[in-house]
């Protein structure tokens, strides 16, 4: 038996990108793999969930969870991991804030099912077949997880110890987080394992940002040839930098794409979308109501911009998972 610390990596509602970024720490991953005992990693290793069930409570030193919680299976697995792990790390924007799938919360579950199984133009489903949680086939009962009413961030379902934001988190931050864990230098519980500054503070274009940005027209990035040296906002292009946590290495900015906010909110900000909106409003330069309306109309899909990664934790949308939503809840 090994006395190495046991680490489990689990995906819930995930696109796979978060697991990929762990692989992307390249050869350094070998060092990590050598220093810990990986007990679960569905994307890469063949361990079964019942192996985890058999473990003692708290036997896993670190449980890394990526993806959002949308169905009863996600919730059960999250709860199991919580029970068996000493430390839970919410990994990536989906686990931390609900992520882009969280935008589905703008529609009801019924609406989504109706569209996906009936109304979408590519669907041919004359019998109106729709997935059920239980189906009888040849006398046998088949079951599927139950889809919840909304997408939840991980901490709306279980207690989370640390957050590593990003969609996905960049490899260097992943390595830094794992190193901090191995060396017992993790900060206070509840911390985000990324910078405490706003992206604007570390952005190379910040120096070009005028004291007072005056936006007279809002343009979308694909409509213009953006100046690669100037602050996006000063060019009338929405950039979420002022309301987003730094730490990504300005990945988007460096390829001349404005920030969409995947690192989430800065410390102590209750709702980064609302915060950004406030800042954006003060930059708008319009003399009268008509001018103001015109610029406001140029912000296409306002809610999608403001909450692209964080709708489930926004003021209007946040919902703790009700325990009765998970039937097998103990």
């Amino acid at each position: 038996m090994t006395d190495k610390k046991k680490v489990a990596i689990l995906w819930l509602g995930s696109c796979g990108g978060c697991d990929e970024t762990i692989v992307d720490i390249n050869e350094l991953i070998l060092g990590v793999v050598n220093s810990v005992d990986l007990v679960l990693w569905p994307v890469a290793l063949d361990f079964k969930y019942h192996h985890i069930e058999k473990m003692a409570d708290g036997e896993i030193a670190l449980g890394i969870i990526n993806g959002h919680v949308r169905n009863s299976d996600h919730a059960e697995m999250a709860k199991l991991m919580r029970q068996k792990s000493q430390v839970i790390l919410a990994f990536g924007a989906c686990a931390c804030f609900g992520g882009t799938p969280g935008l589905a919360n703008l529609r009801s579950k019924e609406d989504i099912f109706r569209w996906v199984y009936q109304e979408a133009p590519t669907v041919i489903n004359p019998k109106g077949v729709c997935p059920q949680t239980t189906t009888r086939v040849d006398g046998k009962e088949l079951t599927l997880p139950e889809m919840f009413e909304s997408v939840h961030s991980l901490d709306q379902v279980i207690d989370v110890d640390y957050y590593l934001p990003g969609c996905p988190p960049p490899p260097y931050l992943v390595l830094k987080a794992i190193t901090a864990f191995l060396e017992n230098t993790l900060p206070a519980k509840g911390s985000s394992l990324a910078s405490h500054k706003a992206l604007c503070d570390t952005c190379p274009r910040n120096a070009s940002k005028p004291n007072k940005v005056a936006i007279t027209e809002i343009k979308r990035i694909h409509e213009v040839e953006a100046d690669p040296t100037k602050c996006f906002l000063s060019q009338g292009i929405i950039c979420m930098g002022p309301a987003t946590r730094s730490g990504c290495g300005e990945s988007c900015i460096n390829i001349n794409i404005p920030c969409r906010g995947c690192f989430g909110h800065i410390e102590l900000v209750a709702d980064s979308g609302a915060k950004f909106l406030s800042g954006l409003a003060s930059m708008i330069d319009a003399d009268d109501e008509a001018g103001l309306e015109k610029i406001s109309d140029q912000v296409r899909d306002t809610i999608g911009y403001l909450y692209r990664f964080s709708l489930p934790i926004s003021i209007m949308n946040q919902k703790k998972l009700q325990s009765d939503e998970v039937k097998s809840d103990d």
């Binding site: 609406d111 915060k275 109501e289 899909d301």
Partner: protein, 143 residues
């Protein structure tokens, strides 16, 4: 049976609204009243929180245009509110449920009437769809 009054949260700037009477006096006449200094202080977070906590409408009373104690706080408020309309709409909250009214009433006599008018507008819209956002299907889908 008397119909229940819709819950209206009213923020008002103390520089123009009711500064000649005591706060208790206005509070006795207005439920859910939040006096502030300068509407420029109102963050979208405050408005969203009011709706989140069940407000059927939010009425903001600011100083007349060109007459803000802090130069242009009321105009800043107007900009935020205009942008916020799009967000509220995505949550199924109609534009009419958030209103900025610029004017002055040192004795605050018209405040209950303004709140009542807001309540009437909101009552006509019917009850709020709640905090489950439901966009109209046709809003963003094209077949």
């Amino acid at each position: 049976m008397k119909e229940k009054e819709p819950k209206i949260v009213c923020f008002s700037c103390r520089f123009s609204w009711g500064y000649l009477v005591s706060e208790e006096d206005i509070a006795a006449r207005l439920e859910n009243w939040i006096p502030i200094i300068c509407t420029g202080k109102i963050d979208p977070v405050h408005i969203l929180t009011a709706f989140r906590q069940g407000a059927e409408g939010v009425l903001i009373l600011g100083c007349p245009e060109g007459d803000c104690h802090y130069q242009d706080g009321n105009i800043e408020a107007r900009k935020r509110i205009t942008l916020l309309y799009n967000v509220l709409q995505s949550y199924g909250i109609e534009r009419e449920r958030l209103k900025l009214h610029l004017g002055a009433d040192p004795e605050g006599k018209t405040m209950p009437q303004l709140v009542k008018e807001m309540a009437d507008t909101v009552r006509k819209l019917g009850p709020r769809s709640g905090d489950t956002p439901t966009q109209k299907k046709s809003a963003t889908r094209t077949k």
